[in-house]
């Protein structure tokens, strides 16, 4: 997919693969390795599934999600994810205890953690009643490691 590119779809699980295909296609076009594309897909799934589950849960209508892929300075690939759901700052979420053993280990709480681990930078802004999450993936210019 040529970028800058934007797609908007209903905020529901049915849209997941369309969103992922869109972003992967933009990322591949930039020459990212299969490994990096897979990491981008994972971070994206985690964010989207959270929006499907939580962002619009007090609404009676199907919300929407808008995703933009574009380039930024310093050889960065940027994914912007915008929703109109309840205000939620991903950066405020506490890290899970990943050393607890099976009995004590909490179920869940890994999605946000994966996003922060896998992306080079994550920014959040509440803007005009919308959540705007920005994922930054660096090192566009570095040769991909798989092709």
């Amino acid at each position: 997919m040529v970028i800058p590119a934007t797609i908007t779809l209903p905020a529901k699980l049915d849209s997941l693969y369309d969103f992922i295909d869109f972003v992967s296609s933009c990322a591949r076009e930039q020459g990212f390795s299969n490994k990096r594309v897979s990491e981008i897909e994972l971070a994206l799934e985690e964010i989207l599934v959270n929006i499907f589950k939580y962002a619009y849960k007090d609404c009676s209508f199907d919300g929407e999600i808008e995703i933009t892929c574009k380039l930024a300075c310093a050889n960065s690939f940027v994914i912007e994810i915008v929703d109109s759901g309840m205000p939620f700052d991903i950066l405020s979420v506490r890290e899970p205890d990943i050393t607890a053993d099976i009995d004590e280990r909490q179920i869940g709480g890994l999605g946000v953690f994966f996003v922060k681990q896998l992306m080079d930078d994550v920014q959040y802004r509440r803007e005009e009643d919308r959540n705007k999450l920005t994922l930054v993936i660096k090192d566009l210019a570095i040769m991909p490691d798989i092709y």
């Binding site: 699980l13 990943i98 050393t99 607890a100 009995d103 179920i107």
Partner: protein, 108 residues
């Protein structure tokens, strides 16, 4: 996602192909609940053909582990590759669960 199950002595070998994500995890969770309800307590997940797992998949696996543990059961894994191995590493699942290179190693 394609799930295949077979039994080796007291262990259910669950081989999963493709992706365990938010769309497919509910199916896995159902399959595992059924097996546990039938009295199965030992599981080996062969992930040598698994390409992708997200937190939705880990959630289903941990839920199963929490069910079999009090009954003296256990869940182990083999054949993690690429992205799946990375997810196990980042999440700590690689240390809280026992991971084998191959299915044969695990069943020894």
């Amino acid at each position: 996602m394609e799930i295949q199950t077979g039994k080796e002595k007291n262990t259910v070998v669950v081989s999963i192909k493709g992706k365990i994500d938010a769309v497919t995890a509910p199916e896995l969770e159902k399959e595992l609940s059924n097996l546990i309800a039938q009295g199965e307590n030992f599981f080996l997940f062969n992930f040598s053909e698994l390409e992708y797992i997200s937190s939705a998949g880990l959630r289903s696996l941990l839920a199963a582990a929490k069910q079999v543990k009090p009954k003296g059961g256990n869940i182990v894994f083999s054949g993690l590759k690429g992205p799946v191995g990375d997810v196990f590493k980042i999440s700590g699942f690689g240390t809280i669960f026992k991971i084998f290179e191959t299915q044969e190693d695990a069943l020894k």
